[in-house]
């Protein structure tokens, strides 16, 4: 499943926009790192910042990632 990517020309400037989901508000580095690793395994990670404890994945990864985080929250 390939996400649609928007592309358009602005004069000489090209702009690329990738749709997806931002995950934030992780309480610990460990919780954050585990989720990032899982996103990498799924092949959906677009951007991550350990300083901000945020990462961005493509929409294709939304359901498995949310399920993963819910499983973690139960433990």
């Amino acid at each position: 499943l390939v996400d649609q990517i928007y592309l358009w020309e602005l004069e000489k400037n090209r702009l690329k926009a990738t749709p997806g989901i931002l995950f934030r508000d992780f309480l610990t580095d460990m919780e954050f790192d585990q989720a990032v690793e899982y996103a990498k395994e799924l092949g959906v990670l677009v951007w991550e910042s350990s300083i901000k404890r945020m990462f961005f994945i493509t929409t294709a990864g939304a359901q498995p990632m949310i399920a993963f985080l819910k499983r973690k929250a139960v433990k």
């Binding site: 602005l10 400037n13 090209r14 926009a17 749709p19 997806g20 931002l22 309480l27 677009v46």
Partner: protein, 68 residues
């Protein structure tokens, strides 16, 4: 519990365009969700058409068009 924010776009563009998007956001807040670096930011997907229209208008204002 971490929070998931849906309906976003990761925009990759040159620094000039990025600055223009930030200016648009200042006048009409809620577009920019997160600045990443000089050439990337996260924006609200529902504002894409507005961003596109505003950018085209502003870039046109700042460009001399040579017609033959």
């Amino acid at each position: 519990m971490p929070r998931a924010q849906k309906g976003l776009l990761l925009v990759e563009c040159d620094p000039t365009v990025k600055q223009l998007i930030l200016n648009i956001d200042e006048k009409s807040p809620g577009i920019v969700i997160e600045e990443i670096d000089d050439e990337r930011l996260l924006v609200n997907e529902h504002r894409l058409e507005q961003i596109k229209a505003e950018l085209e208008r502003r870039l046109e204002e700042n460009t001399y068009q040579i017609e033959d």
